[in-house]
């Protein structure tokens, strides 16, 4: 129990964070060959650690949808579909090429090509509709600021469509100007600011103040 208490201390993860951070930063600025080889091995190890988390998602999904099926709660039929397809994909996709499984398995590939691909592409493309309805509802010149977004946005839309640029060639130049001056200035300002934000966040983490990601007592506190 004593041991358990020690292991629970928040200082351990904070120390791990700091070590992992320094392992990446130091070899970038300082020429220490030994350190950079350790850092590169660590990088690969971190990728593995992340890969090992893969089942966290599966367990969480099965807990939610399994429970729904068990309780026959609203939409439980759909939960069966979820569970079944998770199982099919995980089993056929196991990395055991020797047994005909894995990413070359025919069932796995068929589902990938004819189910996952159309679903992904379509969900992405549904944005065209949302953007159109946003155009008519939200893009209104309510005040000066909204008017600026509206005018610059509409000019950009015209600048991208040959039907407009062919009849009014100057539209192409105007849209390029918007893109290269005000847009560039915005992006650059936000970008420099974000860099500052990231550095400040790093300092807070290194000083052990930023615990957003370690927050929460959990357990039996």
């Amino acid at each position: 129990m004593k041991m358990g208490e020690v292991l629970k201390r928040i200082e351990i993860p904070i120390a791990l964070t700091i070590i992992a951070t320094l392992l990446q930063v130091l070899p970038y600025y300082f020429d220490i060959p030994a350190l950079s080889s350790v850092a590169s091995t660590t990088t690969n190890a971190v990728l593995l650690i992340v890969a090992y988390a893969t089942f966290v998602g599966v367990i969480s999904i099965l807990l939610v949808h399994g429970k729904r099926v068990q309780r026959r709660s609203e939409g439980w039929h759909f939960s069966i579909l979820v569970v079944v397809f998770v199982a099919i994909m995980v089993l056929t996709g196991l990395p055991l090429q020797e047994f005909g499984l894995g990413t070359n398995n025919s069932i796995f590939n068929w589902i990938f090509t004819y189910i996952l691909t159309p679903l992904g592409g379509t969900t992405y493309s549904i944005l065209a509709f949302f953007i159109t309805s946003a155009a008519v509802r939200a893009f209104k010149a309510r005040n000066i600021e909204a008017a600026i977004v509206l005018v610059s946005g509409t000019l950009m839309v015209m600048g991208n469509a040959p039907i407009f640029t062919n009849s009014v060639p100057v539209l192409a130049d105007i849209s390029l100007w918007i893109r290269n001056i005000p847009n560039m200035a915005t992006m650059r300002g936000v970008m420099i600011g974000a860099a500052l934000g990231a550095v400040a966040l790093a300092v807070r983490t290194l000083m052990g103040i930023e615990r957003g990601y370690l927050r929460g007592g959990g357990g039996d506190e």
């Binding site: 351990i12 791990l16 964070t17 951070t21 320094l22 392992l23 990446q24 930063v25 600025y29 660590t42 690969n44 971190v46 990728l47 593995l48 650690i49 890969a51 988390a53 893969t54 089942f55 966290v56 998602g57 939409g75 759909f78 939960s79 569970v83 397809f85 994909m89 995980v90 056929t92 996709g93 990413t103 090509t113 189910i115 996952l116 679903l119 592409g121 379509t122 969900t123 944005l127 953007i131 000066i144 950009m156 290269n180 001056i181 560039m184 200035a185 300002g189 970008m191 420099i192 600011g193 860099a195 500052l196 990231a198 550095v199 966040l201 790093a202 983490t205 990601y213 370690l214 959990g218």
Partner: protein, 240 residues
């Protein structure tokens, strides 16, 4: 026959997602649930393949590396502490390593690519370009706009509330709004490009399967008819 089933399946799921445009409905829920299941399973198989390739690729070289691989595996297992009350806190260890690596990567590169390089190109924007009026004006605009946007995000202290800063704030807001307009314009292009791609698929325009077009019209008709039919027969009584 097999090809026909494939085409019809793909069209069915495509339209299942689009059916959301009419309203939330069982077709959409079928597509959504299948997507959920397949996507999760797919992610797992990709990760497992990666782990295996890493092992055969470089970790099984020497005893030292194998030992390290075992340690990494052990750390990876700690993620699952989350699911048990007494080992709950252990998931924070792998998490801390992952977060630390991320912050480290940010520190080593953000300063250069996003801070210094961007300031360097500000420096390379002189206030006067000999013989080029247009470029001079543009450069001056950039020299006003970029610092304004940067200063807009000034959060602390009393100087922020001073009168000159009010002007800077105005310039910054206007600049950003024009900039966001440009983002809007380009997004329209992308989203419609995607929708055009899906439409070419549904119409069976090469290199897509021509079979798709028939499936498109029939399945679209069935889905729409079922939803509209349901709405007509289940019309809510008007609220008094």
């Amino acid at each position: 026959m097999v090809e026909m089933i494939a085409a019809w399946t793909a069209v069915f799921f495509t339209l299942g997602i689009y059916s959301l445009l009419y309203r939330e409905n069982p077709w959409y829920r079928i597509a959504e649930s299948v997507y959920l299941g397949v996507a999760v399973g797919y992610g797992v198989s990709v990760d497992l393949l990666y782990i295996r390739n890493q092992w055969t690729g470089q970790w099984n070289d020497s005893a030292g590396m194998m030992l390290l691989f075992a340690i990494v595996l052990f750390i990876g297992i700690l993620w699952y502490g989350r699911f048990n009350k007494s080992t709950f806190f252990l998931y924070r260890w792998p998490l801390a390593i992952v977060v630390g690596t991320g912050i480290g990567l940010a520190l080593r590169t953000v300063i250069d690519a996003q801070f210094l390089q961007q300031i360097a190109s500000q420096v390379r924007t002189p206030f006067y370009v000999a013989g080029n009026m247009g470029a001079t004006i543009n450069n001056i605009l950039v020299q006003i706009m970029v610092p304004s946007v940067l200063l807009y995000f000034w959060f602390t202290g009393t100087a922020r509330e001073s009168a000159p800063m009010k002007v800077v704030e105005k310039i910054a807001r206007y600049t950003m709004m024009a900039g966001f307009g440009s983002a809007y314009g380009y997004t329209v292009l992308t989203r419609y490009s995607l929708f055009i791609g899906r439409s070419q698929f549904l119409l069976g325009i090469p290199p897509n399967d021509p079979e798709n077009q028939l499936a498109f019209w029939i399945i679209a008709f069935i889905m729409l008819a079922s939803m509209i039919g349901w709405d007509m027969t289940h019309k809510k009584a008007p609220v008094a």
